[in-house]
Symmetry: C2
Subunit: 328 residues, 2 copies
């Protein structure tokens, strides 16, 4: 049940070829070694499955490699990682896979690692019916612990950027038909595809937080990323922290050409794969932060109460009661 082959390439040959993407000291042993120097590690793992999360028609392998790494680094950053150490990669590939696909994937992986830090520490390859990329990423826990469970009533809720763009990019890549009522702005089209194929994250987020910290006694803040959508992120924070999120719809930052309407609100709140950070801070800290980073927006606050999401002035509550997506 071993020695499975890629198209015309044996297992050992594949490992040799992948070796060029790795640091020399990591090649060909049973384990990778991580030197920790007395620092705590953050670990995250994610799988991308062909025809569930991607296919060759909507994203090219180089972009896929980039995105697979970035989605893991996003989780590290949303936990307060101060440095990405590296990743391990588990590949499952059908025997019909061309080497060029794998090479492009690894090019994208290494581009993301070059941009955000870290190296390939090791991995495993197997044959399978569909392509699967599982990545486990390692980071060093920084001075501030960012945790889903650390939001407090009274905290301001903030996000690092705009949501919904990745979902729109996904729809465009899938050639989903849009109503003829409006024509989508070309700049928005390009930007959305970019967000879907080459999402970016915020490696300096932790430093900016530390720089603007109003009270040095605070060592943990509430945070997650919006990989499953803004609404899911708010829900996860509310549940883990056992409090109620009150959102001011008017303060939600949108692209200036983002269309209006319930459908577009659904894309915005439930789209996912935006990798923005969604977090909460005491009022003073939030004020300091918004001053030095204009892209960070306060969108509401946490209050005492059963874990839930409410919209201020009852705006938009109807949308979320009618939505087909899961609630508490």
């Amino acid at each position: 049940m071993h020695k499975e082959l890629l198209k015309n390439i044996g297992e050992k040959e594949l490992i040799n070829r992948l070796g060029k993407f790795m640091p020399k000291n990591q090649i060909s042993d049973d384990c990778a070694l991580i030197k920790t120097k007395n620092e705590n590690l953050l670990v995250n793992t994610d799988s991308l499955v062909e025809n569930v999360h991607f296919n060759d028609f909507i994203i090219c392998p180089q972009d896929l490699g980039w995105k697979a790494v970035v989605s893991n680094i996003s989780d590290l950053l949303s936990s307060g990682s101060k440095k990405t150490i590296g990743i391990t990669i588990n590949l499952v590939l059908p025997a019909t896979t061309e080497w060029i696909w794998v090479e492009e994937l690894y090019k994208g992986i290494n581009k993301a690692l070059k941009e955000y830090g870290g190296v390939i520490l090791g991995g495993d390859c197997s044959k399978g019916d569909e392509k699967i990329i599982s990545i486990t990423a390692f980071g060093i826990q920084g001075e501030l612990e960012l945790r889903r469970s650390a939001c407090k009533p009274g905290d301001i809720i903030l996000t690092t950027g705009i949501h919904g763009l990745s979902k729109l990019g996904f729809l465009i890549q899938n050639k989903i038909y849009f109503d003829n009522e409006f024509s989508l702005n070309e700049r928005l089209i390009i930007k959305s595809i970019e967000h879907f194929c080459r999402p970016r994250v915020y490696p300096n987020f932790l430093n900016t937080l530390l720089k603007t910290r109003s009270d040095r006694n605070i060592s943990s803040i509430g945070c997650t990323d919006s990989s499953d959508g803004l609404y899911q992120a708010l829900q996860d924070l509310a549940i883990a922290s056992n409090c109620k999120a009150i959102i001011d719809y008017e303060k939600i930052p949108k692209d200036k050409d983002w269309p209006k309407g319930d459908k577009w609100d659904e894309y915005y709140f439930f789209g996912g794969e935006d990798y923005e950070l969604v977090f909460s801070l005491p009022r003073n800290w939030a004020k300091n932060l918004s001053k030095i980073d204009k892209d960070i927006n306060a969108i509401g606050f946490f209050a005492d109460g059963e874990p839930s999401i409410e919209f201020k002035d009852n705006k938009k509550n109807k949308l979320f009661n009618n939505t087909p997506f899961k609630h508490f």
Copy 2:
């Protein structure tokens, strides 16, 4: 492209159900935290793919969970891990999968962790066409570094036990037809199935090595496991250490009822999934070790020369030249 379901079970519900197998502090955040206390970590990752590495007819999910963990711990031990910290699990499951299958898998996973140490640190679940279990395991590097590249000419080659049993178990589980020339001993049948379904590893190996160390200046020794077969293990050591393995066929330990013949030698040397340790030690150390552990056998030695495997007195060299398996 999210919110995929198991049979009748949503993603969040599945995560909740899996929560019972995890320590409380590890549930529901973006990352797991590993407290390292200034000790270096060993990391290993492996995937098991349905219809490539397993299927429901030859191994039950509880045994599969056990084996998935054990195969990873085997790699940690063969690098000199002194303690298993834990694992992350990436599951890919078809939407038709029953919850009982997943529950049984996790029971097996937790049985192995209870036996050999470690906890579930986190994971990810996705829908897919076939079942895939990817495990990443973390251990603490012990005082002695066991590395494929650390064998030296003059070192004695040893193994912790008998090979081929797992392969025989696999053949029996697959109801492969055996010649009628002989009837397989019932004890051997039971033992082989046990080796295939519930392989065991050697958590005290590092301690036994340290106890018998003849020279305290030696801090690394050559070692790997025989997960891909004894021959592959010897080949990996020879290549990584750039020397030649000379094997004494007569010294290879076999089950007392193991049949004779070329086919059975092939099962023995190329079978795989035995998870025995294959390693090399200076002569005195090897002597000390064999004295206190009767299951450890010297089977040859390393010599100067191009990386290769030779059989003493030219015995069996023909077999390995004729084999369909890959060579250097």
